[in-house]
C-alpha cells in the first residue's frame, strides 16, 4: 500500500513536471538533488560537497588556449616517459577517432587492448590489469581506459585512477558540467573526461507522425508528446491506425530511472525505487493495451520495425543511438525521422576516458584528454564527421546557430540545437549512482521483460534478478 501511494505521488509529480516541459527548459532533474537521498557509498556529505565543488574552479582561459594545441603532434615527450601507450576499451570507436583525428606525439606507440564486453568480460580483464598494475612492466601498464556511465563510479572512486588535473587537464568552461561530475570521485578528484554528451531524445518516424498526429513538425510533435498522459493518448491513436508507439517496453526505462531521486542501493541493501515501479506500471499498461511490442531494446525484430514497412512510431535515444544503432532506418527510411524532447529530459550512456594510476605516459594522457575536449578542430570532426554530440559548447553552438545545418537522417532537422538545450540541463548526482548501475539498468529491466512477455510471473522475474544480482555482488541483500 505504501508503495502504491508512493507511485501515485511520483506519477503526479512527473505529470506536473511534464506539463512544465513545454520547451526544453524544465528542471525536472533539479528535484533529484535532494540531500536526503542515500549516498551510494555511504558518505552523503562528501557527495553533496562534491556536487558543489565541481562548478567552482573556473578554467583558466590561457590553459584552454594551450589545450587547443593538444593532439596536433606538437607535444614533445618529457624525459622518462614510456614509449608504449596502453589503452583498454571494449570496441573500436575511440580507436577510430584517435587514428583519424588525433596526431600522436613523436615516438609513442599506441597499443589497444580491446576486450569485447560479452558477459562483462571487459571489466573483468580491465580489473585484473588494474589490480596487477604495480607488478606489470612499464610498457605493459594500463595508461588510459574507457568506462561507461553505468560503471564509471566504480573506477573513479578508487586509487587505481589518478587526478588528471595534476597532469594538466581541467574542467573547461566549454564542457558540459555533468560529464565532469560523472568522472569525479566522492572526494572531489577529477579522474577523467568525456568527448561526448548524451541527452536522450524521442526519435519519431515522420510519416507515421503525419498519419497519427497530422504533423511531423518537431515543435508540434513535442507538444503532442509533452506529458506521459499525452504520450498514452498518442499511443492509442497510433494503435488505432495500426502502428505501435514503441517496439520495446524497455524503451522508456532510462527516462524513468534517470529521473529517479533515490538510488537502488542503500549501503548494501537493494530496494526497487518509485521510479522503477512507475516504469513497470507503464510497461504493463503499454503491453496490455498493445501500445508496445514486447521486443528487447537491441533485438533484430526492433530493427525490422524501423524498415520501410515498419510500424514503430517512436524510439528513444541519444545521438549515438540514432546515428549508429538504427542501421535499418539509416538504410531504408533515411530522412523519415525527427527528434523531440518528449515528456522528460534524461541522458543515456556515454563513454569516459580515465587515467590509470601508475601510468608511465602522463603527458600523453593529458594531451589525449585535452585533444578530445578542448581541441575544437577535433571536436568539430566529432560532430561533423563522427556524428556524435561533442562535449564542447563552442563547437555545439557553432552548429546550433547555423540554420543551414541539418542531419539528412532527420529530414534536415538541426538536432544539435534541440539537444544543446537538453545537454545543459543534464544533472549528475553522485549519490544516485553506484558501481552496480549496469546490473540495475540492464539485468533488472531485462528480467522484467521476461515477465512482460509472459514467460514467467513477476515474482519469478524478480527472483531471477536477485539471483543474477547475487552473482554480481554477493554482499548485497534485499527485503
Amino acid at each position: 500500500m505504501k508503495n502504491f501511494k508512493k507511485n501515485i505521488a511520483l506519477l503526479a509529480a512527473l505529470a506536473c513536471a511534464g506539463t512544465m516541459l513545454a520547451g526544453c527548459t524544465s528542471s525536472t532533474t533539479d528535484g533529484g538533488d535532494t540531500t536526503d537521498a542515500p549516498a551510494a557509498n555511504g558518505d552523503t556529505t562528501a557527495a553533496a560537497d562534491n556536487g558543489g565543488a565541481a562548478d567552482a574552479p573556473a578554467a583558466d582561459a590561457n590553459a584552454y588556449e594551450a589545450a587547443q594545441t593538444a593532439g596536433t603532434g606538437a607535444l614533445t615527450l618529457p624525459e622518462g616517459e614510456g614509449k608504449v601507450f596502453n589503452i583498454y576499451c571494449w570496441n573500436g570507436d575511440f580507436k577510430k577517432y584517435v587514428e583519424s583525428y588525433y596526431k600522436a606525439p613523436e615516438g609513442v606507440e599506441f597499443k589497444w587492448h580491446e576486450i569485447a564486453n560479452e558477459g562483462g568480460a571487459y571489466q573483468t580483464a580491465l580489473d585484473e590489469a588494474l589490480m596487477n598494475q604495480d607488478s606489470a612492466a612499464a610498457d605493459e601498464k594500463v595508461d588510459l581506459f574507457l568506462a561507461e556511465a553505468d560503471y564509471i563510479i566504480k573506477y573513479a572512486n578508487t586509487d587505481l585512477t589518478q587526478d588528471v588535473t595534476k597532469l594538466g587537464v581541467q574542467q573547461w568552461d566549454t564542457g558540459y558540467d555533468y560529464t565532469y561530475k560523472a568522472a569525479t570521485s566522492v572526494d572531489g578528484v577529477l579522474k577523467g573526461v568525456s568527448w561526448q554528451a548524451n541527452p536522450s531524445m524521442f526519435i519519431y518516424r515522420r510519416s507515421i507522425a503525419k498519419d497519427v498526429l497530422g504533423t511531423d513538425d518537431p515543435a508540434q510533435v513535442q507538444e503532442a508528446l509533452s506529458t506521459w498522459e499525452k504520450v498514452d493518448e498518442v499511443a492509442q491513436k497510433a494503435k488505432d491506425k495500426g502502428y505501435v508507439m514503441f517496439a520495446s517496453p524497455l524503451e522508456t526505462y532510462r527516462t524513468f530511472a534517470n529521473n529517479s531521486d533515490v538510488s537502488y542501493l542503500n549501503g548494501d541493501k537493494f530496494a526497487t525505487t518509485a521510479a522503477f515501479d512507475s516504469w513497470v506500471a507503464q510497461a504493463e499498461k503499454y503491453v496490455e493495451n498493445g501500445w508496445s511490442e514486447k521486443y528487447g531494446l537491441w533485438d533484430n525484430e526492433k530493427q525490422a520495425m524501423m524498415g520501410t514497412d515498419g510500424k514503430m512510431m517512436c524510439c528513444i535515444g541519444p545521438a549515438w543511438y540514432f546515428n549508429f544503432c538504427m542501421g535499418t532506418a539509416q538504410e531504408q527510411t533515411n530522412g523519415d525521422w525527427g527528434i523531440c524532447v518528449g515528456p522528460q529530459e534524461h541522458f543515456w550512456g556515454g563513454t569516459w576516458l580515465l587515467a590509470a594510476t601508475g601510468s608511465d605516459n602522463e603527458a600523453v594522457i593529458a594531451d589525449l584528454m585535452n585533444a578530445f575536449t578542448a581541441n575544437e578542430e577535433i571536436m568539430d570532426k566529432i560532430l561533423s564527421d563522427a556524428k556524435e554530440f561533442p562535449n564542447n559548447t563552442n563547437v555545439v553552438n557553432k552548429y546550433a546557430n547555423d540554420d543551414s545545418y541539418g542531419l539528412e537522417f532527420l529530414g534536415g532537422q538541426n538536432h544539435i540545437k534541440m539537444m544543446a538545450e537538453c545537454a545543459k540541463n543534464i544533472k549528475w548526482d553522485p549519490a544516485l549512482h553506484t558501481q552496480y548501475d549496469q546490473t540495475f539498468n540492464e539485468t533488472l529491466p531485462n528480467n522484467i521483460l521476461e515477465y512482460l512477455k509472459g514467460v514467467c510471473d513477476k515474482d519469478t522475474a524478480m527472483s531471477n534478478f536477485y539471483i543474477a544480482l547475487s552473482e554480481v555482488a554477493p554482499q548485497i541483500t534485499h527485503d
Partner: protein
C-alpha cells in the same frame, strides 16, 4: 618372451617414466595445480566488491552450505543440473538413433550404398564449425524474423515465439548439439560394427536370420561396449555444455533461466564481475562430484542392459577406467 621379460623390465623401466614425464609435468602445472587451488579456494571467502578484493578468509564449508541453501527460494544447483541433463538427453537420444541407423546403413553389405565417402564427409562437417558461430546461425533461423521462427508462428499459434518457450529453447539447443555430434558418433559406431567378427554375420545369414534379427541379436549386443564408451564421452561433453546455450539463452539462460547449464553458472560466478572464487571453487567441486556420479550411473545402467556383460566386463573396464 618369458625368459627375456625380467631383463626388459630392469633395463627399460626408466624409459617408461621418461616417456610419460612431459605429460605429467605439464598436467601437474597447468591442470592439476589450478584444480587443487580451485578446490582450495572453495574453503575461502574470496571475491571482488568492485575493485576491492574481499579475503581470502577461511570460512570452512560455508560456501558449500550456501550452495545447498535455497537462493531466493530456489535450489540453483538442482535447477542447473536438471537443465543440463534435460538438454543433454533431448540431444543425445536422436543422436544415437540417427547414428545407429547411419552406421548400419553404411556398413550394410546388402544395401551397398554409393557415395559413402561423400555422406560421411558431409555429416562430419558441422563438427568443424565453431559452436558459437553455429549457434548464431540457428538463433537467427529460429528468431521471430527467421524462417523457422515464422513457420512456427504460422503452424502453432501467432503468439508462439520459439525463444520464449522453455521447451522449444531447450529443443533448439539440443538440436544444435545433436547436429554437431551425430557425425562423430556415427563413425565411432561404424568402427564398432566393422570390428565385429564378420564370420558371425555370415553364420547368421546361413542360419537364415533376416536383417532385423541380425541387428538386434548380433550387432546391437556386440556394439554395447562402444555404446557405453560413446555414451560416457557424450555425457561428459554434455555436462560441459556451454557455448551453445550461452549464445541461445544468454548468460542467464533465457527464458526464465531454463537453459542455464552448470558450466554457464560456474563461468558467470568465476569470470563475472564479482570473481567469486570461493563460490566458484565450491561449484567446481560439486560439478566434479556430479560428473562422477552420473558417469557411474550411465556406466552401470548400460552395462546391465548388456546380455554379454560378463564377457565384456574386462573390456569395458579397459575402455572406461
Amino acid at each position: 618372451m618369458n625368459k627375456r621379460k625380467p631383463i626388459k623390465s630392469i633395463s627399460y623401466a626408466k624409459w617408461g617414466y621418461i616417456f610419460i614425464l612431459p605429460f605429467f609435468l605439464v598436467y601437474a602445472v597447468f591442470s592439476f595445480y589450478p584444480m587443487v587451488t580451485t578446490f582450495y579456494y572453495s574453503f575461502f571467502e574470496n571475491y571482488n566488491q568492485g575493485l576491492t578484493t574481499i579475503g581470502p578468509n577461511f570460512v570452512g564449508l560455508q560456501n558449500y552450505v550456501n550452495l545447498f541453501k535455497p537462493n531466493e527460494g530456489r535450489f540453483e544447483l538442482l535447477e542447473y543440473t536438471k537443465n543440463t541433463m534435460i538438454m543433454w538427453v533431448l540431444g543425445v537420444v536422436p543422436q544415437f538413433i540417427f547414428s545407429l541407423l547411419l552406421a548400419v546403413i553404411f556398413t550394410s553389405v546388402r544395401l551397398k550404398i554409393k557415395g559413402q565417402r561423400f555422406f560421411k564427409t558431409v555429416i562430419y562437417m558441422p563438427n568443424l564449425i565453431m559452436a558459437a558461430a553455429y549457434s548464431m546461425l540457428f538463433y537467427v533461423m529460429f528468431s521471430e524474423v527467421g524462417p523457422v521462427g515464422m513457420l512456427c508462428k504460422a503452424l502453432i499459434s501467432p503468439d508462439f515465439v520459439v525463444f520464449q518457450s522453455v521447451g522449444a529453447s531447450r529443443g533448439v539447443i539440443a538440436f544444435i548439439n545433436f547436429l554437431m555430434w551425430f557425425g562423430n558418433t556415427t563413425i565411432m559406431l561404424m568402427a564398432g560394427i566393422m570390428g565385429i567378427d564378420q564370420s558371425l554375420f555370415e553364420a547368421a545369414s546361413i542360419d537364415g536370420a533376416n536383417g532385423r534379427q541380425v541387428f538386434f541379436k548380433i550387432t546391437l549386443p556386440l556394439l554395447s561396449p562402444i555404446f557405453v564408451y560413446v555414451a560416457m564421452t557424450s555425457l561428459i561433453g554434455g555436462l560441459q555444455m556451454f557455448d551453445v546455450p550461452q549464445i541461445i539463452g544468454g548468460t542467464d539462460g533465457a527464458p526464465n533461466r531454463s537453459t542455464r547449464t552448470l558450466i554457464m553458472w560456474l563461468n558467470n560466478v568465476v569470470t563475472g564481475k564479482a570473481r567469486d572464487y570461493g563460490k566458484g571453487g565450491a561449484i567446481s567441486v560439486l560439478i566434479f562430484i556430479i560428473t562422477g556420479i552420473l558417469s557411474f550411473i550411465v556406466y552401470k545402467s548400460m552395462v546391465k542392459e548388456d546380455p554379454n556383460a560378463k564377457k565384456n566386463k574386462r573390456r569395458n573396464k579397459n575402455v572406461l577406467l
